[in-house]
Assembly symmetry: C2
Homo-oligomer: 138 residues x 2
Amino acid sequence: MSSARATSARDLTRNQHLVLGTLEKAESPLSAYSILDQLREEGLRAPLQVYRALDKLLEMGLAHRLESLNAFVACAHPHCHKSGLIAFAICESCGQVSEFSDDVVRQRLDDWAAREGFVTKRTTMEIRGACRACASAA
Amino acid sequence: MSSARATSARDLTRNQHLVLGTLEKAESPLSAYSILDQLREEGLRAPLQVYRALDKLLEMGLAHRLESLNAFVACAHPHCHKSGLIAFAICESCGQVSEFSDDVVRQRLDDWAAREGFVTKRTTMEIRGACRACASAA
DNA sequence: GGCATTATGTTATGACATTACAAGTTTGAG
DNA sequence: CTCAAACTTGTAATGTCATAACATAATGCC
C-alpha cells in the first residue's frame, strides 16, 4: 500500500494520511500539538509522530508551514505545483489563511537574488492583518 | 534620561540599550536566549527582560524578528524608516542576513490586498539559501 | 535469506515565549 | 507638594514548539 518513496496524496503512510486529513478538515492553521491532540484516539502519542508526517507532507507540497504562527495548513491547491513561491494572507481575527502567488513578485525576488549571487532555496511570505469580512465587521 | 515614550535610539531604557547593542555587535541573528546569555554579567537574569526590550525595539523599527529562525537582528538601516515592507535574505551556511526592500513587490502585495479587501498589518518576507560567498565555496 | 532503507514508537530533553505577580519609578493633575 | 495613573522592572513558574537518541518493525532489492 505505502511505498518507501511516496510522491502523491494517494501514496501516504497511515500517519501522513491522518495528519493531512486533520489539516484538511481544519478551518485555520493547526499547531503540531493540536494535530496530535486530535489524533490521540487514532493511536498517536508523541509529537515526533506528527512532526515526521508533517516533514514529508511539506516535502511533497501537500502542506505548508506558516512561520509566523508556528503552525501548519493543508495546501489549498494540492494539484497544481506550479508555483515556487507561495504567499499567505493570515487573518489575525478569524484565523483564515488565503494562499496566493504572484509571478511579478517571484520575478523581482529572482532578479534580486541573481544580482546578489544569492542561491534561493526557499522563500516565505506572510501577510498578517484582517480579511475583508473581519475588517468590515470591526 | 529615559522617557516613558521613547521613539529613537537615543532614548532607550537600560535594558533596551543593552539588547540593541548586543544585536548590533552580532554578525548573525540572535535568539532571545543567546542575547540573555551575553547579558548575564550586566545583570539580566530572565528571558522576559530580553523579550520586553525586544518588543520595544521592534516597535521602534530598530530591530527585526526573523520568523523562520525565531531570532532577531538589529535593523541595518536604522535611520531611514522609509519602507513598510522589508525582505530578508538569510544565508543558511554563514548565517548572514541581508536586508532589502522592493517597491514593486510592495506594490503588488498592496494591490492584492486591495482587491481582496484585506487590511495588512505586517508583512514578513524571508528568503533562505546561500549567499554569494558560501554558494561559490560549496 | 541477508542487507540496506525507511517508517514507527517511546522517552527524555532542548529551545522559544508568556502569564502572573510584586515592587519601584516617572509624570502630571489638583 | 501629594496622590494617583501609567509605565518600567524584576522574578518565578509555566506553557508551547521542536528535536535527539534509542529501540523495533516493515519493506524493497540482490
